[in-house]
């Protein structure tokens, strides 16, 4: 669908972990069409905040009553503004934008690796893949730096998804990194799995370094960069990808992504 810009009212906002919130609003047009990996731009109602530019957020969940949920963590003034919102407040929502994850993994096993606040599109993808007619076996790794930041995903991860949490401080789940758990799961794969990831750049780069083209059925990464327009106009959100003869090409994260073939992104 073509994206729509709507002023909507926040229906709910809740704190779900340290500095981490879920904000909900109703936007029926997007709710009916959006796909895992896509994102929307959220902006303040004029005069309600000193935040100037809209900010991109991946969709986290969509419920049957057209409610869209965004999971976010406070980092700067925009996310702090969002955390200060209360039900009834108006926000601008522009979406759905960008491309989506390939939902036909072509593999018997799928490994989803989400790190930190990169987890939202991974959850939406897990839900979508588990609804396939012949769903693959799905392993989901969710990593955080500390246990205090871990979002309780028990209610949102589909029951048939095998979920493993890793934390660097070991307070919740396995002590360690997403990549260590990924390595363990990869060793158990008898056929090439499909790997999807979203998280900090260093984590995605490390995941990319562990995989070899041909030995995985698919490797997709959902990337992030500072954005202004979300439509490929400002050319502000470019990601370096491999061009001809290994030259660097800059492509817009908003229109050619945010989902990229992880082997094509230049991680260094």
């Amino acid at each position: 669908m073509k994206p729509v810009f709507e002023w909507v009212r926040v229906t709910q906002i809740s704190s779900v972990a340290e500095r981490t919130f879920v904000i909900a609003f109703k936007e029926p047009k997007s709710a009916a069409a959006l796909e895992p990996g896509q994102f929307c731009m959220i902006s303040p109602y004029p005069g309600s905040s000193n935040v100037y530019l809209p900010r991109p957020f991946s969709y986290f969940r969509v419920s049957a009553n057209d409610t869209i949920e965004i999971l976010f963590r406070t980092f700067g003034r925009a996310t702090r503004w969002m955390a200060s919102l209360t039900p009834g407040d108006r926000i601008g929502v522009f979406g759905p934008l960008g491309n989506a994850f390939n939902q036909h993994p072509g593999a018997e096993r799928v490994i989803l690796a989400g790190g930190g606040i990169g987890i939202p599109p991974i959850i939406l993808l897990a839900e979508s893949l588990s609804r396939l007619a012949n769903p693959p076996r799905i392993d989901l790794i969710y990593g955080e730096a500390s246990g205090s930041r871990v979002v309780d995903l028990a209610k949102v991860v589909p029951p048939r998804v095998c979920c493993q949490i890793t934390t660097e401080d070991g307070k919740i789940g396995v002590k360690g990194l997403v990549t260590e758990e990924l390595s363990r799961i990869l060793d158990t794969c008898k056929t090439p799995p499909a790997v999807y990831t979203c998280g900090p750049r260093a984590m995605m780069a490390a995941v990319a370094g562990m995989l070899t083209p041909g030995k995985v059925a698919l490797f997709e990464t959902a990337c992030e960069e500072n954005m202004a327009c979300g439509r490929g106009i400002c050319q502000g959100c470019v990601i370096p990808v491999k061009g001809e003869e290994d030259a660097t090409r800059y492509v817009c994260c908003c229109t050619e992504g945010p989902v990229f073939n992880g082997f094509e992104v230049k991680w260094d």
């Binding site: 810009f5 000193n50 100037y52 809209p54 202004a228 327009c229 106009i233 090409r249």
Partner: protein, 312 residues
């Protein structure tokens, strides 16, 4: 919007005074579904250079107080692709909106080459010359900061084309009015004021500039008073020298009132830039707000307001 909002300017008829600024509306196609530019006064394209440009390394943009910094590096598809693929699409969808192509070069010759090629196309209504580029053959000084470069670029393009030539001036000079005078003497049919201001944001936690290239161009509401002052100053200077070229006001216009500030300062047309990122339909909303203002105030045509602030 039943009112006549037509603005006659540079020998062209604009259906309303609101244009979209270069670099903030791409080649018109990216946002046509949500903001068809055919309803506006005109589209100013992204800057076109002779060769395709990949642009600067990321991060290229960052928000600042009441604005943003950008360091895109004139990323564009290049002259050949623009003429073959982008321009025909723009012309096909422009309707009554005027098509203004923004061009730049890294030497006087490149400006002239690109200007001549673009200017020979019947789909183009006017050229806007981006003087905010470094002159690689003259110590990387920005063309727009050097009167002699301004004169050579504008007169060079002027001689090659029969279309209106608009000089887009940088505010990063001691006296913008004197640069405006040079541009007019060299044959500019109109002036676009202003381009972005240089700026930098430093990431304190990382102790380094946020943008990949360090410096960026500041745009958004933060620069509106600078833009309005430049328009006012140049308008005043032109009145003294008895020159009559129209001014196009640019810089931080987010609503009809902002546009009126520029018009009252002396702008015949305005361009909406960064506001399109905040709300993709901003240009259309601003055109509507201007029409509503004229209707409420009983003003027959928006052009009647141009420069009125100088009477006080």
């Amino acid at each position: 919007m039943g009112l006549n909002q037509t603005v006659r300017c540079m020998g062209l008829s604009f259906q309303n005074p609101v244009l979209v600024a270069s670099g903030t509306f791409g080649y018109g196609d990216e946002c046509y579904d949500i903001m068809p530019f055919s309803s506006l006064g005109g589209l100013v394209t992204k800057t076109i250079t002779a060769a395709r440009r990949e642009g600067n390394p990321p991060p290229r943009i960052v928000e600042t107080d009441a604005g943003m910094l950008n360091s895109i590096g004139l990323a564009n598809v290049g002259l050949e692709c623009f003429l073959a693929e982008k321009l025909p699409w723009i012309a096909q969808h422009a309707g009554l909106a005027k098509v203004i192509v923004n061009i730049a070069g890294f030497s006087v010759d490149e400006f002239v080459e690109v200007g001549a090629a673009v200017g020979s196309r019947p789909e183009v209504d006017a050229l806007e010359i981006n003087l905010g580029c470094p002159n690689v053959r003259a110590g990387y000084i920005h063309f727009g900061a050097d009167p002699e470069s301004v004169r050579r670029v504008i007169s060079g393009v002027r001689k090659k084309v029969n279309l209106p030539v608009i000089a887009k001036l940088t505010p990063n000079v001691t006296d913008i009015a004197s640069l405006a005078e040079v541009a007019i003497d060299a044959g500019a049919d109109a002036l676009s004021l202003i381009n972005t201001l240089p700026g930098m944001k430093i990431d304190v936690a990382e102790r380094r500039p946020v943008l990949g290239m360090g410096f960026g161009g500041l745009s958004g509401p933060a620069i509106r008073p600078v833009g309005v002052a430049c328009v006012y100053k140049v308008c005043q200077h032109m009145q003294r020298m008895d020159a009559q070229v129209p001014i196009i006001g640019i810089g931080g216009i987010s609503c009809g009132t902002d546009a009126l500030e520029y018009i009252l300062a002396g702008a015949s047309l305005v361009q909406v830039g960064t506001a399109s990122f905040v709300h993709p339909q901003a240009p259309g909303n601003i055109a509507r707000e201007l029409a509503e203002y004229c209707e409420t105030e009983g003003i027959g045509n928006i052009s009647d307001l141009v420069g009125l602030a100088h009477q006080h």
